[in-house]
Protein backbone atom coordinates (compact mmCIF):
# COMPACT_ATOMS: atom_id res chain seq x y z
CA UNK A 1 0.00 0.00 0.00
CA UNK A 2 2.66 2.47 -0.96
CA UNK A 3 1.42 3.36 -4.38
CA UNK A 4 -0.75 6.31 -5.33
CA UNK A 5 -0.91 5.17 -8.92
CA UNK A 6 -4.51 5.58 -10.03
CA UNK A 7 -4.34 2.68 -12.48
CA UNK A 8 -2.95 0.25 -9.91
CA UNK A 9 -5.45 1.43 -7.31
CA UNK A 10 -8.33 1.05 -9.75
CA UNK A 11 -7.20 -2.47 -10.56
CA UNK A 12 -6.89 -3.40 -6.90
CA UNK A 13 -10.26 -1.85 -6.08
CA UNK A 14 -11.87 -3.84 -8.85
CA UNK A 15 -10.25 -7.09 -7.65
CA UNK A 16 -11.27 -6.35 -4.06
CA UNK A 17 -14.89 -5.80 -5.05
CA UNK A 18 -14.90 -8.97 -7.13
CA UNK A 19 -13.48 -10.92 -4.17
CA UNK A 20 -16.14 -9.49 -1.95
CA UNK A 21 -18.93 -10.42 -4.32
CA UNK A 22 -17.49 -13.92 -4.73
CA UNK A 23 -17.41 -14.36 -0.96
CA UNK A 24 -21.21 -14.29 -0.89
CA UNK A 25 -21.54 -11.82 1.97
CA UNK A 26 -24.56 -9.56 1.79
CA UNK A 27 -24.39 -5.82 1.47
CA UNK A 28 -26.79 -5.58 4.43
CA UNK A 29 -24.23 -7.20 6.74
CA UNK A 30 -21.58 -4.58 6.10
CA UNK A 31 -23.74 -1.53 5.42
CA UNK A 32 -23.13 0.02 8.81
CA UNK A 33 -19.38 -0.52 8.71
CA UNK A 34 -19.11 0.92 5.22
CA UNK A 35 -21.14 3.93 6.22
CA UNK A 36 -18.93 4.47 9.25
CA UNK A 37 -15.76 4.28 7.18
CA UNK A 38 -17.24 6.61 4.59
CA UNK A 39 -17.76 9.21 7.29
CA UNK A 40 -14.17 8.79 8.49
CA UNK A 41 -12.95 9.11 4.93
CA UNK A 42 -14.99 12.29 4.45
CA UNK A 43 -13.50 13.84 7.58
CA UNK A 44 -10.05 12.83 6.43
CA UNK A 45 -10.52 14.40 2.99
CA UNK A 46 -11.89 17.62 4.43
CA UNK A 47 -8.92 17.70 6.78
CA UNK A 48 -6.49 17.35 3.91
CA UNK A 49 -8.12 20.18 2.00
CA UNK A 50 -8.16 22.46 5.04
CA UNK A 51 -4.58 21.87 6.10
CA UNK A 52 -2.81 21.59 2.77
CA UNK A 53 -4.98 22.80 -0.10
CA UNK A 54 -1.96 22.86 -2.43
CA UNK A 55 -0.59 19.38 -1.66
CA UNK A 56 -1.46 18.18 -5.15
CA UNK A 57 0.43 21.05 -6.74
CA UNK A 58 3.52 20.15 -4.75
CA UNK A 59 3.27 16.52 -5.83
CA UNK A 60 2.46 16.89 -9.50
CA UNK A 61 4.46 20.03 -10.16
CA UNK A 62 1.83 21.87 -12.19
CA UNK A 63 -1.08 24.08 -11.23
CA UNK A 64 -4.42 24.24 -13.04
CA UNK A 65 -6.71 26.45 -11.00
CA UNK A 66 -10.43 25.95 -11.63
CA UNK A 67 -11.70 28.72 -9.41
CA UNK A 68 -10.64 30.65 -6.37
CA UNK A 69 -12.67 30.22 -3.17
CA UNK A 70 -11.25 32.50 -0.47
CA UNK A 71 -7.98 33.26 1.30
CA UNK A 72 -5.56 30.44 0.46
CA UNK A 73 -8.22 28.03 -0.69
CA UNK A 74 -8.94 27.41 -4.34
CA UNK A 75 -10.11 24.44 -6.32
CA UNK A 76 -7.13 23.09 -8.20
CA UNK A 77 -7.26 20.11 -10.57
CA UNK A 78 -4.07 18.61 -9.14
CA UNK A 79 -5.44 18.78 -5.60
CA UNK A 80 -8.68 17.16 -6.71
CA UNK A 81 -6.75 14.40 -8.41
CA UNK A 82 -4.57 13.87 -5.37
CA UNK A 83 -7.62 13.66 -3.11
CA UNK A 84 -9.28 11.31 -5.56
CA UNK A 85 -6.27 8.99 -5.34
CA UNK A 86 -6.35 9.26 -1.60
CA UNK A 87 -9.99 8.23 -1.61
CA UNK A 88 -9.17 5.35 -3.94
CA UNK A 89 -6.71 4.06 -1.38
CA UNK A 90 -9.50 3.90 1.17
CA UNK A 91 -11.79 2.21 -1.31
CA UNK A 92 -9.16 -0.40 -2.09
CA UNK A 93 -8.76 -1.26 1.57
CA UNK A 94 -12.42 -1.31 2.62
CA UNK A 95 -13.73 -4.40 0.79
CA UNK A 96 -10.63 -6.44 1.53
CA UNK A 97 -10.53 -5.41 5.18
CA UNK A 98 -14.22 -6.22 5.62
CA UNK A 99 -13.69 -9.53 3.95
CA UNK A 100 -10.81 -10.29 6.27
CA UNK A 101 -12.83 -9.49 9.38
CA UNK A 102 -15.92 -11.35 8.27
CA UNK A 103 -14.31 -14.44 6.80
CA UNK A 104 -11.66 -15.02 9.45
CA UNK A 105 -12.37 -17.26 12.35
CA UNK A 106 -10.66 -15.44 15.25
CA UNK A 107 -9.32 -18.65 16.77
CA UNK A 108 -7.84 -19.79 13.48
CA UNK A 109 -6.28 -16.37 13.07
CA UNK A 110 -4.69 -16.57 16.50
CA UNK A 111 -3.33 -20.03 15.70
CA UNK A 112 -1.87 -18.78 12.43
CA UNK A 113 -0.26 -15.75 14.05
CA UNK A 114 1.36 -18.03 16.58
CA UNK A 115 2.56 -20.27 13.79
CA UNK A 116 4.47 -17.47 12.10
CA UNK A 117 6.23 -16.68 15.34
CA UNK A 118 4.06 -14.11 17.09
CA UNK A 119 3.77 -14.69 20.84
CA UNK A 120 0.58 -16.58 21.55
CA UNK A 121 -0.46 -13.98 24.10
CA UNK A 122 -0.49 -11.33 21.40
CA UNK A 123 -2.21 -13.66 18.97
CA UNK A 124 -4.85 -14.44 21.52
CA UNK A 125 -5.43 -10.77 22.30
CA UNK A 126 -6.02 -10.07 18.62
CA UNK A 127 -8.38 -13.02 18.37
CA UNK A 128 -10.40 -11.87 21.35
CA UNK A 129 -10.67 -8.35 19.97
CA UNK A 130 -12.00 -9.72 16.67
CA UNK A 131 -14.26 -12.13 18.50
CA UNK A 132 -15.99 -9.33 20.40
CA UNK A 133 -16.78 -7.00 17.52
CA UNK A 134 -20.17 -8.64 16.89
CA UNK A 135 -20.92 -8.75 20.61
CA UNK A 136 -20.24 -5.07 21.01
CA UNK A 137 -22.38 -4.40 17.96
CA UNK A 138 -25.26 -6.32 19.50
CA UNK A 139 -24.81 -4.49 22.78
CA UNK A 140 -24.90 -1.21 20.92
CA UNK A 141 -28.22 -2.11 19.31
CA UNK A 142 -29.79 -3.25 22.55
CA UNK A 143 -28.65 -0.19 24.43
CA UNK A 144 -29.83 2.11 21.70
CA UNK A 145 -33.24 0.47 21.80
CA UNK A 146 -33.38 0.76 25.56
CA UNK A 147 -32.47 4.42 25.34
CA UNK A 148 -35.12 5.04 22.74
CA UNK A 149 -37.64 3.45 25.05
CA UNK A 150 -36.60 6.04 27.61
CA UNK A 151 -37.38 8.85 25.24
CA UNK A 152 -34.00 9.46 23.66
CA UNK A 153 -34.85 10.00 20.04
CA UNK A 154 -32.47 8.43 17.58
CA UNK A 155 -34.93 7.90 14.79
CA UNK A 156 -34.79 9.73 11.50
CA UNK A 157 -37.42 12.16 12.70
CA UNK A 158 -34.85 14.05 14.75
CA UNK A 159 -32.29 16.63 13.73
CA UNK A 160 -28.82 15.33 13.00
CA UNK A 161 -27.13 17.41 15.69
CA UNK A 162 -29.67 16.26 18.27
CA UNK A 163 -29.10 12.66 17.23
CA UNK A 164 -25.35 12.98 17.58
CA UNK A 165 -25.81 14.42 21.04
CA UNK A 166 -28.16 11.63 21.97
CA UNK A 167 -25.75 8.98 20.72
CA UNK A 168 -23.55 9.97 23.63
CA UNK A 169 -26.24 8.54 25.90
CA UNK A 170 -25.50 5.15 24.40
CA UNK A 171 -21.75 5.37 24.85
CA UNK A 172 -21.86 5.46 28.62
CA UNK A 173 -23.60 2.10 29.11
CA UNK A 174 -21.71 0.63 26.16
CA UNK A 175 -18.37 1.46 27.74
CA UNK A 176 -19.58 0.17 31.10
CA UNK A 177 -20.77 -3.15 29.75
CA UNK A 178 -17.60 -3.54 27.69
CA UNK A 179 -15.43 -2.93 30.73
CA UNK A 180 -17.45 -5.45 32.65
CA UNK A 181 -16.93 -7.96 29.87
CA UNK A 182 -13.18 -7.38 29.95
CA UNK A 183 -13.19 -8.14 33.65
CA UNK A 184 -15.17 -11.34 33.16
CA UNK A 185 -12.89 -12.56 30.42
CA UNK A 186 -9.64 -11.79 32.15
CA UNK A 187 -10.89 -13.57 35.25
CA UNK A 188 -11.97 -16.56 33.20
CA UNK A 189 -8.59 -16.68 31.45
CA UNK A 190 -6.71 -16.45 34.69
CA UNK A 191 -8.76 -19.27 36.15
CA UNK A 192 -7.75 -21.43 33.21
CA UNK A 193 -4.10 -20.67 33.76
CA UNK A 194 -3.64 -18.61 30.61
CA UNK A 195 -0.09 -17.40 30.07
CA UNK A 196 1.58 -19.76 32.54
CA UNK A 197 3.44 -21.75 29.92
CA UNK A 198 5.72 -20.75 27.07
CA UNK A 199 3.81 -22.69 24.46
CA UNK A 200 0.31 -23.80 23.85
CA UNK A 201 -1.55 -25.96 21.39
CA UNK A 202 -4.34 -24.84 19.09
CA UNK A 203 -7.44 -26.76 18.18
CA UNK A 204 -8.03 -24.49 15.24
CA UNK A 205 -4.59 -24.78 13.73
CA UNK A 206 -4.72 -25.49 10.02
CA UNK A 207 -1.99 -26.92 7.83
CA UNK A 208 -0.82 -24.81 4.90
CA UNK A 209 -2.53 -25.82 1.69
CA UNK A 210 -1.93 -25.21 -1.99
CA UNK A 211 -4.38 -22.34 -2.14
CA UNK A 212 -2.66 -20.70 0.81
CA UNK A 213 0.57 -20.66 -1.17
CA UNK A 214 -1.39 -19.35 -4.13
CA UNK A 215 -2.72 -16.49 -1.98
CA UNK A 216 0.80 -15.64 -0.80
CA UNK A 217 2.06 -15.63 -4.39
CA UNK A 218 -0.85 -13.43 -5.43
CA UNK A 219 -0.02 -10.96 -2.66
CA UNK A 220 3.62 -10.77 -3.76
CA UNK A 221 2.64 -10.31 -7.39
CA UNK A 222 0.39 -7.41 -6.45
CA UNK A 223 3.19 -5.87 -4.44
CA UNK A 224 5.62 -6.37 -7.32
CA UNK A 225 3.25 -4.71 -9.78
CA UNK A 226 2.83 -1.65 -7.60
CA UNK A 227 6.60 -1.41 -7.05
CA UNK A 228 7.21 -1.77 -10.80
CA UNK A 229 4.77 1.03 -11.49
CA UNK A 230 6.61 3.12 -8.96
CA UNK A 231 9.88 2.77 -10.89
CA UNK A 232 8.07 3.28 -14.12
CA UNK A 233 6.53 6.54 -12.95
CA UNK A 234 9.67 7.65 -11.19
CA UNK A 235 7.77 8.05 -7.91
CA UNK A 236 4.78 6.92 -5.95
CA UNK A 237 2.41 9.01 -8.02
CA UNK A 238 1.08 8.56 -11.50
CA UNK A 239 1.21 11.96 -13.11
CA UNK A 240 -1.22 12.67 -15.96
CA UNK A 241 -0.40 16.40 -15.94
CA UNK A 242 2.99 16.16 -17.68
Amino acid sequence: MITYDTRVLAGMFFTGVVFFILSGFKWKEVRFAVFFMAVLMGINLIGIFLFSPEQGVKIYGTRHELCHLFWRYSIVTEQLFYMFNFMMKYLVVIPVALLFIMATNPSEFAASLNKIGVSYRVGYAVAIALRYIPDVQRDYHEISQAQQARGVDLSRKDKTLERLKNSAAILFPLVLSSLQRIEFISNAMELRGFGKQKKRTWIMEKPFMKRDYAAVVFAFVTLAVSVLCMFNNGGRYFNPFL
Binding site: A146, R150, S155, P173, S177
Partner: protein, 267 residues
Amino acid sequence: MLTVEELSFGYTPDKENLSDINFTIYKGEMVSIVGKNGAGKSTLAKLLCGFVTQNHGSITLKGRNLADDTIKERAGYIGYVMQNPNQMISKPMIYDEVAMSLRLKGMTEEQVQEKVHEALKICGLYPFRNWPVSALSYGQKKRVTIASILVQEPEILILDEPTAGQDFRHYTEIMEFLKELNERGITVLMITHDMHLMLEYTERSLVFSEGHMIADTTPAKLFSDPQLLRRASLKETSLFELAKRCGLDSESYIEKFIRYDRQVRNK
Protein backbone atom coordinates in the same frame (compact mmCIF):
# COMPACT_ATOMS: atom_id res chain seq x y z
CA MET B 1 -56.11 -5.11 27.63
CA LEU B 2 -53.24 -6.33 25.47
CA THR B 3 -54.07 -8.66 22.63
CA VAL B 4 -51.58 -10.46 20.44
CA GLU B 5 -52.90 -12.16 17.33
CA GLU B 6 -51.16 -14.53 14.93
CA LEU B 7 -47.85 -12.89 15.69
CA SER B 8 -44.86 -14.19 13.76
CA PHE B 9 -41.31 -12.96 13.60
CA GLY B 10 -37.87 -14.09 12.45
CA TYR B 11 -34.52 -12.32 12.75
CA THR B 12 -33.56 -13.83 9.41
CA PRO B 13 -36.03 -14.44 6.60
CA ASP B 14 -35.53 -18.20 6.45
CA LYS B 15 -36.10 -18.94 10.11
CA GLU B 16 -39.03 -17.94 12.30
CA ASN B 17 -38.13 -17.30 15.92
CA LEU B 18 -41.75 -16.87 16.87
CA SER B 19 -44.69 -18.18 14.96
CA ASP B 20 -48.40 -17.77 15.31
CA ILE B 21 -48.60 -16.42 18.85
CA ASN B 22 -52.04 -15.62 20.24
CA PHE B 23 -52.93 -14.42 23.73
CA THR B 24 -54.71 -11.73 25.66
CA ILE B 25 -53.48 -10.10 28.83
CA TYR B 26 -56.10 -8.58 31.10
CA LYS B 27 -55.69 -5.52 33.24
CA GLY B 28 -54.10 -6.09 36.62
CA GLU B 29 -52.75 -9.53 35.84
CA MET B 30 -49.38 -10.84 36.87
CA VAL B 31 -48.29 -13.26 34.18
CA SER B 32 -45.12 -15.29 33.83
CA ILE B 33 -43.58 -16.20 30.50
CA VAL B 34 -41.55 -19.38 30.75
CA GLY B 35 -39.54 -21.61 28.45
CA LYS B 36 -35.95 -22.61 27.89
CA ASN B 37 -33.27 -20.41 26.33
CA GLY B 38 -34.01 -19.50 22.75
CA ALA B 39 -37.70 -20.29 23.03
CA GLY B 40 -38.60 -16.76 21.97
CA LYS B 41 -39.46 -15.15 25.29
CA SER B 42 -37.23 -12.12 25.00
CA THR B 43 -38.09 -11.78 21.34
CA LEU B 44 -41.72 -11.51 22.33
CA ALA B 45 -40.86 -8.70 24.75
CA LYS B 46 -38.91 -6.90 22.03
CA LEU B 47 -41.85 -7.21 19.67
CA LEU B 48 -44.21 -5.79 22.27
CA CYS B 49 -41.92 -2.80 22.79
CA GLY B 50 -41.38 -2.23 19.11
CA PHE B 51 -37.61 -2.91 19.21
CA VAL B 52 -38.22 -5.29 16.34
CA THR B 53 -41.17 -5.41 13.96
CA GLN B 54 -43.28 -8.49 13.38
CA ASN B 55 -43.48 -10.14 9.99
CA HIS B 56 -47.07 -11.05 10.46
CA GLY B 57 -49.91 -10.54 12.92
CA SER B 58 -50.90 -7.71 15.19
CA ILE B 59 -50.46 -6.32 18.69
CA THR B 60 -53.38 -4.32 20.04
CA LEU B 61 -53.55 -2.37 23.25
CA LYS B 62 -57.04 -1.43 24.42
CA GLY B 63 -58.35 -1.99 20.93
CA ARG B 64 -55.71 0.16 19.25
CA ASN B 65 -53.21 -1.39 16.85
CA LEU B 66 -49.64 -0.56 17.82
CA ALA B 67 -48.12 -1.19 14.40
CA ASP B 68 -47.37 2.45 13.63
CA ASP B 69 -46.08 3.49 17.04
CA THR B 70 -42.36 4.12 17.48
CA ILE B 71 -40.32 2.68 20.33
CA LYS B 72 -40.56 6.01 22.08
CA GLU B 73 -44.33 6.19 21.81
CA ARG B 74 -44.84 2.61 22.97
CA ALA B 75 -42.61 3.24 25.96
CA GLY B 76 -45.38 5.51 27.25
CA TYR B 77 -47.64 2.52 27.87
CA ILE B 78 -45.41 -0.55 27.83
CA GLY B 79 -42.33 -0.42 30.04
CA TYR B 80 -39.57 -2.95 29.44
CA VAL B 81 -36.93 -3.66 32.04
CA MET B 82 -34.03 -5.45 30.40
CA GLN B 83 -32.21 -8.28 32.04
CA ASN B 84 -28.92 -6.46 32.33
CA PRO B 85 -29.26 -3.14 34.16
CA ASN B 86 -25.86 -2.06 32.86
CA GLN B 87 -27.34 -1.89 29.38
CA MET B 88 -29.96 0.58 30.48
CA ILE B 89 -28.25 2.94 32.87
CA SER B 90 -26.74 5.89 31.04
CA LYS B 91 -26.27 8.55 33.72
CA PRO B 92 -23.74 8.53 36.53
CA MET B 93 -26.20 9.72 39.20
CA ILE B 94 -29.30 7.84 40.34
CA TYR B 95 -31.52 10.90 40.36
CA ASP B 96 -30.52 11.92 36.83
CA GLU B 97 -30.98 8.39 35.58
CA VAL B 98 -34.55 8.21 36.80
CA ALA B 99 -35.26 11.78 35.71
CA MET B 100 -33.89 11.32 32.21
CA SER B 101 -37.05 10.32 30.38
CA LEU B 102 -39.08 13.04 32.10
CA ARG B 103 -36.55 15.73 31.25
CA LEU B 104 -36.54 14.59 27.65
CA LYS B 105 -40.30 15.02 27.64
CA GLY B 106 -39.69 18.64 28.55
CA MET B 107 -41.25 18.69 32.02
CA THR B 108 -40.34 21.43 34.46
CA GLU B 109 -37.76 20.58 37.08
CA GLU B 110 -40.38 20.70 39.89
CA GLN B 111 -42.63 18.20 38.15
CA VAL B 112 -39.63 16.03 37.47
CA GLN B 113 -38.54 16.10 41.08
CA GLU B 114 -41.97 15.17 42.38
CA LYS B 115 -42.27 12.18 40.06
CA VAL B 116 -38.72 11.00 40.53
CA HIS B 117 -39.02 11.12 44.32
CA GLU B 118 -42.24 9.17 44.15
CA ALA B 119 -40.73 6.47 41.93
CA LEU B 120 -37.63 6.25 44.11
CA LYS B 121 -39.79 5.88 47.21
CA ILE B 122 -41.77 3.06 45.62
CA CYS B 123 -38.54 1.29 44.74
CA GLY B 124 -37.03 1.85 48.16
CA LEU B 125 -34.23 3.96 46.75
CA TYR B 126 -35.27 7.34 48.13
CA PRO B 127 -32.46 7.44 50.72
CA PHE B 128 -29.96 6.86 47.90
CA ARG B 129 -31.31 9.53 45.58
CA ASN B 130 -28.10 11.58 45.51
CA TRP B 131 -25.79 8.61 45.21
CA PRO B 132 -23.82 7.71 42.12
CA VAL B 133 -25.06 4.60 40.34
CA SER B 134 -21.64 2.97 40.61
CA ALA B 135 -22.03 2.69 44.40
CA LEU B 136 -25.01 0.37 44.07
CA SER B 137 -25.20 -3.39 44.06
CA TYR B 138 -26.52 -5.28 41.06
CA GLY B 139 -29.93 -5.72 42.67
CA GLN B 140 -30.15 -2.04 43.52
CA LYS B 141 -29.19 -1.14 39.97
CA LYS B 142 -32.00 -3.37 38.83
CA ARG B 143 -34.36 -1.36 40.99
CA VAL B 144 -32.98 1.88 39.56
CA THR B 145 -33.88 0.65 36.10
CA ILE B 146 -37.34 -0.32 37.29
CA ALA B 147 -37.75 3.14 38.82
CA SER B 148 -36.61 4.82 35.63
CA ILE B 149 -39.24 2.86 33.72
CA LEU B 150 -41.93 3.48 36.35
CA VAL B 151 -41.65 7.27 36.11
CA GLN B 152 -42.96 6.97 32.59
CA GLU B 153 -46.13 5.53 34.14
CA PRO B 154 -46.59 2.54 31.88
CA GLU B 155 -49.74 0.47 32.16
CA ILE B 156 -47.87 -2.73 31.43
CA LEU B 157 -44.49 -3.58 32.86
CA ILE B 158 -42.40 -6.28 31.20
CA LEU B 159 -39.46 -7.60 33.17
CA ASP B 160 -36.80 -9.85 31.70
CA GLU B 161 -35.49 -12.17 34.43
CA PRO B 162 -36.20 -9.75 37.27
CA THR B 163 -34.49 -11.94 39.85
CA ALA B 164 -31.54 -13.33 37.90
CA GLY B 165 -28.35 -13.05 39.91
CA GLN B 166 -30.08 -12.16 43.15
CA ASP B 167 -29.77 -13.91 46.45
CA PHE B 168 -32.88 -15.03 48.27
CA ARG B 169 -33.28 -11.84 50.28
CA HIS B 170 -33.10 -9.57 47.26
CA TYR B 171 -35.19 -11.99 45.29
CA THR B 172 -37.93 -11.70 47.90
CA GLU B 173 -37.49 -7.94 48.05
CA ILE B 174 -37.86 -7.49 44.31
CA MET B 175 -40.75 -9.88 44.01
CA GLU B 176 -42.67 -8.39 46.92
CA PHE B 177 -42.06 -5.01 45.36
CA LEU B 178 -43.42 -6.18 42.03
CA LYS B 179 -46.42 -7.68 43.78
CA GLU B 180 -47.06 -4.32 45.38
CA LEU B 181 -46.83 -2.59 42.01
CA ASN B 182 -49.24 -5.14 40.62
CA GLU B 183 -51.67 -4.39 43.45
CA ARG B 184 -51.47 -0.71 42.50
CA GLY B 185 -52.98 -1.69 39.18
CA ILE B 186 -49.96 -2.12 36.92
CA THR B 187 -50.13 -5.20 34.74
CA VAL B 188 -46.92 -7.19 35.11
CA LEU B 189 -45.39 -9.59 32.61
CA MET B 190 -42.36 -11.51 33.78
CA ILE B 191 -39.95 -13.53 31.73
CA THR B 192 -38.40 -16.10 33.98
CA HIS B 193 -36.54 -19.36 34.34
CA ASP B 194 -37.37 -19.63 37.98
CA MET B 195 -40.13 -22.15 38.48
CA HIS B 196 -40.59 -21.27 42.10
CA LEU B 197 -41.09 -17.63 41.22
CA MET B 198 -43.70 -18.62 38.70
CA LEU B 199 -45.54 -20.76 41.26
CA GLU B 200 -45.35 -18.32 44.10
CA TYR B 201 -46.11 -15.05 42.41
CA THR B 202 -48.04 -15.51 39.21
CA GLU B 203 -51.46 -16.84 38.60
CA ARG B 204 -51.01 -17.40 34.89
CA SER B 205 -48.20 -18.75 32.73
CA LEU B 206 -47.51 -18.57 29.03
CA VAL B 207 -45.27 -21.46 28.09
CA PHE B 208 -42.96 -21.11 25.10
CA SER B 209 -40.99 -23.73 23.26
CA GLU B 210 -39.12 -23.43 19.96
CA GLY B 211 -40.93 -20.28 18.93
CA HIS B 212 -44.41 -21.58 19.68
CA MET B 213 -46.66 -20.86 22.58
CA ILE B 214 -47.53 -24.35 23.77
CA ALA B 215 -49.67 -23.49 26.76
CA ASP B 216 -51.57 -20.71 28.48
CA THR B 217 -52.42 -22.05 31.88
CA THR B 218 -52.01 -21.69 35.63
CA PRO B 219 -48.62 -22.62 37.09
CA ALA B 220 -50.20 -25.35 39.24
CA LYS B 221 -51.80 -26.99 36.20
CA LEU B 222 -48.52 -26.73 34.32
CA PHE B 223 -46.79 -28.74 37.02
CA SER B 224 -49.44 -31.38 37.07
CA ASP B 225 -48.89 -32.04 33.37
CA PRO B 226 -45.56 -33.85 33.05
CA GLN B 227 -45.84 -34.14 29.29
CA LEU B 228 -46.20 -30.38 28.90
CA LEU B 229 -43.31 -29.83 31.27
CA ARG B 230 -41.14 -32.08 29.20
CA ARG B 231 -42.09 -30.36 25.96
CA ALA B 232 -41.17 -27.01 27.43
CA SER B 233 -37.94 -28.46 28.92
CA LEU B 234 -38.93 -27.12 32.30
CA LYS B 235 -37.92 -28.70 35.53
CA GLU B 236 -40.23 -29.38 38.42
CA THR B 237 -39.21 -27.56 41.57
CA SER B 238 -37.66 -29.53 44.38
CA LEU B 239 -40.75 -28.83 46.48
CA PHE B 240 -42.85 -30.57 43.88
CA GLU B 241 -40.48 -33.49 43.85
CA LEU B 242 -40.54 -33.69 47.61
CA ALA B 243 -44.33 -33.73 47.72
CA LYS B 244 -44.45 -36.43 45.10
CA ARG B 245 -41.97 -38.65 46.89
CA CYS B 246 -43.81 -38.29 50.16
CA GLY B 247 -47.03 -39.12 48.42
CA LEU B 248 -48.65 -35.77 49.19
CA ASP B 249 -50.93 -33.76 46.97
CA SER B 250 -48.30 -31.50 45.40
CA GLU B 251 -50.58 -28.60 44.56
CA SER B 252 -51.90 -28.02 48.05
CA TYR B 253 -48.54 -28.85 49.61
CA ILE B 254 -46.75 -26.13 47.65
CA GLU B 255 -49.51 -23.69 48.41
CA LYS B 256 -49.24 -24.43 52.12
CA PHE B 257 -45.45 -24.18 52.00
CA ILE B 258 -45.55 -20.76 50.37
CA ARG B 259 -48.14 -19.50 52.82
CA TYR B 260 -46.16 -20.73 55.82
CA ASP B 261 -42.90 -19.40 54.40
CA ARG B 262 -44.47 -15.94 54.09
CA GLN B 263 -45.84 -16.00 57.61
CA VAL B 264 -42.44 -16.82 59.01
CA ARG B 265 -40.70 -14.24 56.88
CA ASN B 266 -43.07 -11.44 57.83
CA LYS B 267 -42.50 -11.93 61.53
